[in-house]
Amino acid sequence: MQVTFESVGATTVATATGRLDFGAATAFQQQLEQAIAAKPGRLVVDCAALDYVSSAGLRSFLVAARASKAAGTSFLACGLQPSVKEVFEISGFSRIIEILPDRAAATAGAA
């Protein structure tokens, strides 16, 4: 699991690559929390290269979404692969976290 960050105007894009399992969840959460601490207008997690997520990974998303709300940052995810999308839908996370089809849609108007 790897996360890289990039800023486009007031939008921070976190690109998540690999497997977000129990072993990767804590580090992922901490990296997102660090990004949120800078209070970007918008934080987008690009999941196009995210192959796997478990409930431990969902917990990281939840913590980040709450921290974003407290910081006044819009929190979004984009580019979910079919299986990851299914996990978000079954868990109801697609109703509490805004999901956009791809990075272009998520960063529109950010520049």
Binding site: F22, A56, L58, L62, S91, G92
Partner: protein, 139 residues
């Protein structure tokens, strides 16, 4: 033709179980897109034993995973000698709760039940035995 792996219920062993499952998938040339629900089920159930399966006598439980493929149906049996626990007895978490009070406990089991075709628990000679099956054709 089945495969079997037994390890201590220690979170550090998750990778070993995961690699075991992936190797089984490769060796039998099963469709890659059907692996996800089995990986998820293995992680959720294994970690449940690691974090909640401590028996009253204090011994570290051991977990055994058996994989079998018949036709297009894969069966994964997860056995553990930890505390008696039927994961199917858990209530479905409120997946409509707002962000602020969204529960995470029970979510793993809910995902497993939804993504598998069939999940059966029984107590077998003092061990928990969870049998998960799913058709892997056109998953």
């Amino acid at each position: 033709m089945s495969a079997c792996l037994q390890r201590a219920a220690d979170a550090d062993q998750l990778a070993a179980f995961s690699e075991f499952l992936q190797a089984f998938w490769r060796e039998r040339d099963l469709p890659a897109e059907a692996l996800f629900p089995f990986e998820l089920a293995l992680e959720e159930i294994f970690l449940n034993v690691v974090f909640h399966g401590q028996p009253s006598d204090g011994h570290q439980p051991s977990v055994e995973v058996r994989l079998d493929c018949e036709g297009k149906q894969v069966t994964m049996v997860i056995l553990d000698d930890g505390a008696r626990f039927d994961p199917l007895s858990l209530d479905t978490p409120d997946v409509n709760a707002p962000l602020e009070n969204r529960p995470v406990g029970g979510l793993g089991i809910h995902l497993v039940r939804t993504m598998m075709d069939r999940v059966v628990w029984r107590n077998m000679d003092g061990r928990n035995e969870l049998t998960l099956t799913r058709n892997v054709e056109n998953a």
